[in-house]
C-alpha cells in the first residue's frame, strides 16, 4: 500500500467513532433501544476494526525497510504555533501503533457487542428517561479518543486525547449518575487523573522549553543530540532530590502514566471506577485506557533517563505487590479483578522501568485480552446472578453457566502465566503456554538480569564498543551493542536465531532518532535493587492464588446462596465475545503481536535497552536466566492454584479461620492500607478547608483592614463622635466609603453652627498659616521696627 494509504485508513478508523458519537448525540433518542447500540457497534467499532485489519495485513506484508520508510515518511501537518514553535498533528505510524490499533479495535468491538446484550438486561431508564443512546455515544467517543491517543504523533495531541479518554471514563463511570457513589467515583477518577496530568504538564513544559518541539520523534532526536553535546536540558545544573532536569522531565511525563494506569500513589480511583457498567470496566478500566499509561511510557521511552526509569521501576514494583495483596482479600468479584488489573499494570510499568520494553507491551496486549475477557465473564456472572457481586454468595455456578466458567478459567490460567516450562515441550520452536506465561516470564528475566548481571553486561558493552567500532559501519555504541548481541547469538545459539539477530543489528544500525547517544546514557545505568526482583517474583506466586480463589469461589464448590443460584443463566449475545476473546488469549497474542512489538522496539526505543526480547532471543545472561527462571515462574501457577484450591475446596470455612489467624494483616488489606481515608483527610478535606479559609479571607480579612483604618480614622476624629457601623460590609470599598464618612465627620466637626467658633477656627488656621509662611516661606525679617526706621522722617 502507498505511503498515505495507511494514514488515511487509520484516520478514518479514528473518525468513524466520532461520527457515530455525534449521530447518537443528535439522533440517539429517536433510534431507540437496540438500534442505537447497533449504530455504535457498526459505525463506532465495526468500521475501525475492518480498517485496522486491512492495515494490519498490509503492514505485515511490508518489509523491514518498507516499514521504516513508512514510519519516517508518515504524515505531519502543523496544527498551531505555540509561540514560534509549530505543533504538528500527524500519525505515528509504526508496528506498535498498528498492533495497538488492532488490539483496541478488536477488543472494543467485542465489548460493544457484549454491551448490547448487557444493556438489554439493565434498566437504562432513570426517572422515565432512557439513557441507552447516551451509553453508546460515550462508548463511541471513547473509541475515538483511544484510537486518537494511539495514533497521535505529538505529545500535545497525546495529552489532548489523554484528557479525552479521561473524560469518557468520567462520563461512563458516572453513567449511573443518579446513584451517589457512581458520580462520586467518576469525580474521583477524573481528579486523580488530573493530579497525574499536572505532572504530565510539567513534563510537557520541560520538553517544550528544552527540546523545542512537541513531536515525539523530533523530541527524541533533539534529546539525543543534546545529550551528546551536553547542551540544552543537559546543560542545566538544576537538580531536585538529586534528579537532573532531564530526569524530572521523564518523571513528569511518567506522572501522567501513573494517573491513567493507576499506579501506586494514584491507584485509588480504579477500584471505585468499577461503579460503572461492567463492559465499561472491561473496556476502559482493564483493557485499553488504563494501559494507555504504559503506552505513553513506551512512546516517551526515548526521553527517559536511567534515573527516571529507576523511578518508574520502583513505582511499578510497589504497585504490583501491594495491589496483588489487596486482591487476596477481596470478595467483590469485580473489585477482585480490579486489583488484579492494578497488579498487572504494575508489572507492565515495572517492566518498562527495568527496560523490558517489548515484554511490557507484550504483557499489555496479552493482559488486555484476558482481562477484558475476565471482566466480561464477571459481567456475565453478575448479570446472571441478578446483580450479585459478592463471591461469598456464589459458588457452583459452573453447571449454570459453563461457557462463562470455562472462559473465565482460561483467563485465570492466562493471567497466572500457565505454560509448560519443560525444555522439550515445544511446538514449532515455541513454548506452549498462555499469554501471561511468556510475558511475565520475560519481564522477570529482564528484571533478574538488571538486578544481578547488569554490571557484566555494561562491561561487555565497553568492550563491545571497541569491538563494534571496527566491526560495523555504524560507529555508535548502540549499534555495536546490537552487534554484540548479534555476535553472541551467532556464537552461541542455534541458527534459527541468527536472522532475527541480524535483523536486530540491521535495525539498530539504520535506526533513526540518534539512538546512539541514548545507548550511551544507559552505560551509567545503575543495577536494579534486588528486592524489586524478589517482590516481582513473589507476586508471580500470589497472582495465581487470588485468581484461582476468585474462580473457585465463583464457579466451584456448592452454591452458597440458593436464590442467586436459581437465577443464574447466560445469554449467547454475551458469551460469543467471550469465546472469541478466549481464543485470542490463546493464540493471537503470541504469534501475532510479539513480533510486531519487537519490530517496533528498534525504532521506538533506540534498541540499547531492548535486552529482553523473549525467552529465546537475547543476551546469554537472559538466556541463562531463562534457563532456571522458567522453573520458578513457570511453576508459580501450580503452587498458587494448589494453595487456593486447598483453602477453598470446601466452602469458606478454612478461609474464615485463616482470616482470624491473620486478623491484623487482613484488616489492613481489607481497608486497602487506608489510602482512601488518608487521601480524604489530607487532600479532599484539606483542600476544602483551604478553600474555606480563602473564602473567609476574601470576605472578612479585607474587612478587618477596613475596620482598622476606620478605627484609626476614629482616633483622629475622636471628637467627631461617629460610631462605626459594622453591618453589611465586605470589601475595601465600604472601607473607603466608611472611612470617608468618618473623615467627613472630622471635616464637618468644626461646622458647629456657632458663628463665634467659625471666627475662632478661621483666625486660628489663618494664624497657623501666617506662622508657617513666616517660618518656611521666607526668612523672618526684623519686623515692624525696621519698617518704622526705614520710613522714619
Amino acid at each position: 500500500m502507498g505511503q498515505y494509504t495507511y494514514e488515511i485508513l487509520l484516520a478514518c478508523g479514528v473518525l468513524s467513532p466520532l461520527v457515530s458519537f455525534w449521530l447518537l448525540v443528535f439522533a440517539g433518542p429517536k433510534l431507540g433501544k437496540p438500534a442505537a447500540g447497533w449504530v455504535a457497534v457498526v459505525l463506532g467499532m465495526g468500521v475501525p476494526l475492518v480498517l485496522a485489519t486491512i492495515v494490519l495485513i498490509g503492514w505485515l506484508g511490508e518489509t523491514e525497510g518498507g516499514r521504516a520508510a513508512l514510519t519516517a515518511g508518515a504524515y505531519r501537518g502543523t496544527w498551531a504555533y505555540i509561540g514560534t514553535i509549530p505543533v504538528t498533528v500527524g500519525v505515528k505510524l509504526d508496528s506498535l501503533t498498528v498492533a495497538m490499533f488492532f488490539m483496541v479495535t478488536l477488543i472494543a468491538f467485542l465489548i460493544f457487542v457484549f454491551s448490547i446484550g448487557y444493556m438489554k438486561g439493565h434498566s437504562d431508564e432513570v426517572a422515565g428517561k432512557s439513557k441507552y443512546h447516551r451509553f453508546f455515544a460515550y462508548l463511541s467517543l471513547f473509541g475515538f479518543s483511544m484510537l486518537g491517543l494511539v495514533l497521535s504523533s505529538s505529545l500535545l495531541f497525546l495529552f489532548i486525547f489523554w484528557e479525552l479518554v479521561g473524560l469518557c471514563s468520567y462520563l461512563l463511570i458516572g453513567y449511573y449518575f443518579d446513584k451517589g457513589f457512581a458520580s462520586a467515583a467518576a469525580m474521583k477518577a477524573f481528579i486523580t487523573n488530573r493530579v497525574g496530568d499536572f505532572g504530565f504538564l510539567i513534563g510537557l513544559m520541560l520538553v517544550f522549553m528544552h527540546l523545542g518541539t512537541l513531536d515525539l520523534d523530533e523530541a527524541a532526536t533533539v534529546f539525543a543530540q543534546q545529550y551528546a553535546a551536553g547542551t540544552g536540558i543537559f546543560a542545566s545544573h538544576f537538580t531536585l532530590f538529586g534528579w537532573s532536569l532531564a530526569t524530572i522531565m521523564g518523571v513528569g511525563l511518567f506522572c501522567g502514566a501513573m494517573g491513567k494506569s493507576a499506579q501506586f500513589p494514584l491507584h485509588v480511583w480504579l477500584p471505585d471506577a468499577m461503579a460503572g457498567p461492567t463492559p465499561v470496566s472491561a473496556l476502559i478500566h482493564a483493557a485499553t485506557m488504563v494501559a494507555a499509561g504504559v503506552y505513553l511510557v513506551a512512546r516517551v521511552y526515548r526521553l527517559m533517563t536511567p534515573e527516571a526509569l529507576a523511578f518508574v521501576a520502583l513505582i511499578g514494583c510497589l504497585t504490583l505487590t501491594l495491589m496483588a495483596l489487596i486482591a487476596i482479600v477481596q470478595v467483590d468479584i469485580k473489585k477482585c479483578l480490579a486489583y488484579s488489573t492494578l497488579s498487572q499494570l504494575g508489572y507492565m510499568i515495572f517492566a518498562m522501568g527495568c527496560g523490558a520494553w517489548i515484554a511490557a507491551l507484550f504483557h499489555l496486549i496479552t493482559h488486555a485480552f484476558f482481562k477484558a475477557m475476565l471482566f466480561l465473564c464477571s459481567g456475565q456472572v453478575i448479570e446472571g446472578c441478578h446483580h450479585e457481586q459478592d463471591m461469598r454468595k456464589m459458588g457452583g455456578l459452573m453447571k449454570k453457566m459453563p461457557v462463562t466458567g470455562i472462559t473465565f478459567l482460561v483467563g485465570v490460567l492466562a493471567i497466572a502465566g500457565t505454560g509448560i516450562p519443560i525444555p522439550g515441550a515445544e511446538i514449532a520452536g515455541r513454548k506452549i503456554g498462555l499469554g501471561g506465561f511468556f510475558s511475565k516470564d520475560e519481564i522477570l528475566a529482564v528484571a533478574y538480569v538488571r538486578a544481578f548481571e547488569w554490571d557484566d553486561i555494561s562491561k561487555h558493552e565497553e568492550h563491545g564498543e571497541a569491538h563494534g567500532a571496527g566491526h560495523t559501519a555504524a560507529p555508535e555504541p548502540e549499534g555495536s551493542r546490537a552487534m554484540l548481541v548479534a555476535d553472541r547469538t551467532q556464537a552461541e545459539h542455534h541458527d534459527e536465531h541468527q536472522p532475527a539477530a541480524a535483523a536486530h543489528g540491521a535495525q539498530s544500525t539504520h535506526d533513526s532518532h540518534g539512538g546512539a547517544d541514548r545507548a550511551a546514557i544507559f552505560k551509567d545505568m545503575k543495577k536494579l535493587p534486588s528486592w524489586m526482583f524478589y517482590l516481582a517474583i513473589f507476586t508471580a506466586y500470589v497472582t495465581p492464588f487470588y485468581m484461582m480463589r476468585c474462580w473457585w469461589m465463583t464457579f466451584m464448590g456448592k452454591p452458597r446462596d440458593q436464590h442467586v443460584y436459581d437465577h443464574a443463566h447466560e445469554t449467547p449475545l454475551m458469551y460469543v465475545p467471550l469465546v472469541v476473546l478466549a481464543i485470542g488469549t490463546f493464540v493471537s497474542s503470541y504469534f501475532l503481536f510479539r513480533p510486531l512489538i519487537e519490530d517496533a522496539s528498534h525504532s521506538a526505543t533506540s534498541a540499547a535497552m531492548v535486552l529482553a526480547t523473549d525467552g529465546e532471543l537475547g543476551t546469554e545472561a537472559i538466556h541463562a536466566a531463562h534457563g532456571w527462571l522458567r522453573w520458578y515462574v513457570g511453576g508459580a501457577f501450580l503452587v498458587g492454584f494448589i494453595v487456593a484450591i486447598a483453602i477453598y475446596r470446601n466452602g469458606l470455612g478454612l478461609a474464615e479461620q485463616l482470616k482470624k489467624v491473620f486478623l491484623p494483616i487482613h484488616t489492613i488489606l481489607w481497608n486497602k492500607y487506608y489510602f482512601d481515608e488518608v487521601y480524604d483527610v489530607v487532600w479532599v478535606k484539606g483542600c476544602v478547608l483551604v478553600a474555606h479559609i480563602a473564602r473567609f479571607f476574601d470576605t472578612y480579612f479585607i474587612d478587618l483592614l477596613v475596620n482598622l483604618s476606620a478605627a484609626v480614622t476614629e482616633r483622629i476624629a475622636a471628637f467627631s463622635g461617629l460610631v462605626i457601623d459594622n453591618h453589611g460590609i465586605d470589601g475595601i470599598v465600604n472601607g473607603i466609603a466608611k472611612t470617608s464618612i468618618d473623615i467627613g465627620g472630622v471635616a464637618r466637626a468644626p461646622q458647629t453652627g456657632r458663628i463665634r467658633n467659625y471666627v475662632l477656627f478661621a483666625t486660628a488656621v489663618a494664624t497657623v498659616v501666617v506662622v508657617c509662611v513666616l517660618a518656611f516661606g521666607m526668612d523672618s525679617g526684623s519686623g515692624a521696627a525696621t519698617v518704622a526706621s526705614s520710613v522714619a522722617p
Partner: protein
C-alpha cells in the same frame, strides 16, 4: 507720586469713551434705580419689576458684549491717561466676566420667575439687592486698586447678607444672614487691616505698585517681610472669603442652606467666580511684575500656599458633603470643593509666572462657565423639587426617576458632570485644569493633579447618594408638579453640558484667546505704569 504732582488730572482723558467702557455697570445701576422707581409707577407686583429687570439685564448684556468687542484690542483704564493708574479697568476679562454674569443672572431670574415670583411680595427689594451684588461682582473683576477692591467686595457682600435673610419669616434665613454677615464683615475687616499694612509698605493703593514693590524687595530682603507677608495674607483672606476657601469657608454651608434656592444658586457661582477672577487679576499682576529669575523664589511659595489651600478646600468640601441630608447643604459643600478645583488653576498661573502660560487662566474661565451650567441645573432641579415638596431633604428626591423623569435625568447628568465624568462637560472642565497643572511639570503640579483626581473619586460617593435616591429608592408619592419653564431651564443646562463636552473646542479656543489677551495687557500696563514708582521707592 502725589496728587499735587499732577497738574491737570483730566488731561488726555476721553470721557465719552471711558463712560462707554464702563457702561455695563452704569446700566446695572440704572436698572436698580428703575427698580426702585418702578413701584411708584406700576405698583409692587412682580410682573412690572420682572419686565424692568429683564430689560435691564438684556441691555447690560448687550453693552457688555459691545465693550468686549472694543476692549479686545486693548484695555481701557478708568479716568486716567494711558493704560494704567486708573481705578477701573475695562478689558477682555472684565467684559467677559460681565457677560457670563448677565447670562447667569438671566438664569437666576428665570428660576425666580418660575418659582418664587408668584408668592413674592417684595420683588423690588429682592432685585435691588440681587442687582446690587451683581454690580459689586462686576466691579470686583474690573479693578486693580486696593481701595476699590474693598469697596467692590463690600458692594457685593452687603446685599448678599441681606438677600440671604430676605424672607423675614424664615428662621433659617435670618440665622444664615447673621452668620454670613458676621463672618463676612470680620474677613472684610481683616482684609482692610492687611491692606493698610501693604499700603504702609508700598505707599500706594495700586496692586501693580504692590507687585512691583514685592518684586524688587522680595521676601528675602529681610526688609519688613513680616509686615508684607501678614499684609498679603490678610489681603488674600478677604478674597478667600469670597471664594469660600478653607479656612474661610465656614459661612458657606450655613448661608447656602438658609437662603432661598435662587439665592443659593446665585451665590454659589457668581460670588465665587468673581472672587476667583479677582484673584486671577491680582495674581497676573504679580506675575507680570516679576522678572523671570525672581519669580521662582518669590512666587513659588505663594503658589504652594494657594495650591495647598486649594487641595485642602477640595478635600474638606468633599468629605463634609458625606452624610448630608439636605441637598442644598450637600451642594453647598460641593461648591466649596469646586472652588478648590478652580483655585488649583489659580495656583497654576501664580506658579507659572512666565508670561504666556495661559493654560491656567483658560482652564479657570472654561471651568467657571461649565460650572455655571452644572450648578444652575443642579440647584434648579433642587428648587423645583423643593417648591413641589417643600423639603430639600434627600427623601424629597426618592423615586424621582419615576415621579419626574424630566427632572431626574438632567439631575443625573448635572451630578455626574459635577463628579467630572465623561461624557459630560464637567470632565472637560477638570481636564483643562489637569492639563494646566500637568503643564507645570513640577512637583506642585503633579501633587495637585493627584489631589484633584483623588477628590473626583471621593466626591463620587455623595453625588451618587442622590442618584441612588432618585433611581433606586421606591417611593409612592405622586408625580412632581413642576412648571414647564423650569423643566425647560434645567434640561437646557443638561443639554448644554452634553454639547459643551462634544464641542469642547470653541469654548476652549475663545477662553484661550481671552486669557492670552489678558496676559499681554497686564504685562504691558504693569511695565509702563510703575517704572517711576520703583525709582522713588528705591531711593
Amino acid at each position: 507720586m502725589s496728587f499735587l504732582a499732577q497738574t491737570d488730572p483730566w488731561a488726555g482723558i476721553d470721557v465719552g469713551e471711558q463712560l462707554f467702557a464702563f457702561s455695563p455697570m452704569i446700566a446695572l445701576i440704572c436698572t436698580m434705580l428703575a427698580v426702585v422707581t418702578c413701584p411708584l409707577l406700576f405698583g409692587r407686583g412682580p410682573r412690572p419689576i420682572a419686565i424692568v429687570v429683564a430689560v435691564g439685564v438684556i441691555v447690560t448684556f448687550y453693552l457688555a458684549m459691545r465693550v468686549a468687542g472694543v476692549v479686545s484690542t486693548g484695555a481701557i483704564s478708568g479716568l486716567s491717561p494711558g493704560g494704567a493708574g486708573g481705578m477701573l479697568i475695562a478689558d477682555p476679562l472684565s467684559a467677559g466676566f460681565q457677560i457670563i454674569l448677565m447670562v447667569f443672572l438671566a438664569g437666576i431670574f428665570w428660576l425666580w420667575w418660575m418659582g418664587s415670583a408668584a408668592t413674592e411680595r417684595n420683588a423690588p427689594e429682592f432685585f435691588i439687592l440681587l442687582l446690587g451684588s451683581a454690580l459689586g461682582m462686576a466691579l470686583m473683576v474690573s479693578t486693580l486698586n486696593l481701595l476699590l477692591i474693598v469697596v467692590a467686595i463690600e458692594t457685593a457682600s452687603l446685599p448678599s447678607y441681606a438677600i440671604v435673610g430676605f424672607d423675614k419669616r424664615d428662621k433659617a434665613g435670618a440665622e444664615a444672614a447673621l452668620k454670613y454677615m458676621v463672618f463676612g464683615s470680620v474677613s472684610a475687616a481683616v482684609m482692610l487691616y492687611g491692606i493698610s499694612l501693604l499700603y504702609g509698605l508700598v505707599g500706594s493703593l495700586n496692586v501693580a505698585d504692590l507687585a512691583q514693590y514685592v518684586a524688587t524687595m522680595g521676601f528675602h530682603t529681610g526688609e519688613s517681610s513680616v509686615l508684607l507677608s501678614v499684609g498679603l495674607l490678610a489681603f488674600f483672606a478677604g478674597i478667600a472669603f469670597k471664594v469660600s476657601a478653607v479656612p474661610f469657608h465656614f459661612w458657606c454651608p450655613d448661608a447656602f442652606e438658609g437662603a432661598k434656592v435662587e439665592v443659593t444658586t446665585w451665590l454659589s457661582v457668581a460670588s465665587k467666580a468673581a472672587g476667583l477672577i479677582l484673584l486671577a487679576r491680582v495674581a497676573l499682576t504679580f506675575c507680570a511684575a516679576v522678572e523671570a529669575p525672581l519669580n521662582m523664589q518669590f512666587l513659588e511659595p505663594v503658589a504652594w500656599v494657594i495650591g495647598i489651600v486649594a487641595a485642602v478646600t477640595c478635600t474638606i468640601g468633599n468629605f463634609s458633603a458625606y452624610k448630608q441630608e439636605s441637598v442644598k447643604r450637600l451642594l453647598a459643600y460641593s461648591s466649596i470643593a469646586h472652588a478648590g478645583y478652580m483655585m488649583m488653576a489659580a495656583a497654576v498661573f501664580v506658579y507659572a509666572g512666565s508670561p504666556g502660560y495661559t493654560a491656567g487662566l483658560t482652564a479657570l474661565l472654561v471651568y467657571i462657565i461649565i460650572y455655571m451650567f452644572m450648578n444652575l441645573g443642579a440647584f434648579g432641579i433642587t428648587a423645583l423639587v423643593v417648591w413641589d415638596g417643600g423639603s430639600d431633604k434627600l427623601d424629597a428626591f426618592n423615586g424621582l426617576m419615576r415621579r419626574a423623569p424630566w427632572l431626574a435625568i438632567p439631575m443625573i447628568i448635572c451630578l455626574m458632570s459635577l463628579v467630572g465624568l465623561p461624557p459630560f462637560a464637567g470632565f472637560i472642565g477638570k481636564w483643562w485644569i489637569l492639563v494646566a497643572l500637568g503643564g507645570l511639570d513640577s512637583t506642585l503640579g503633579w501633587f495637585l493633579v493627584i489631589a484633584a483626581v483623588a477628590n473626583t473619586l471621593i466626591s463620587l460617593y455623595f453625588y451618587l447618594r442622590i442618584v441612588v435616591r432618585m433611581v433606586f429608592a421606591e417611593d409612592q408619592r405622586a408625580a412632581v408638579r413642576a412648571p414647564v419653564g423650569g423643566i425647560a431651564l434645567v434640561n437646557l443646562c443638561a443639554l448644554a453640558l452634553l454639547l459643551l463636552f462634544v464641542f469642547a473646542q470653541p469654548l476652549k479656543t475663545s477662553a484661550e484667546q481671552l486669557s492670552r489677551g489678558m496676559y499681554q495687557a497686564v504685562a504691558s500696563n504693569t511695565s509702563d505704569s510703575s517704572s517711576a514708582r520703583v525709582a522713588d521707592s528705591g531711593s
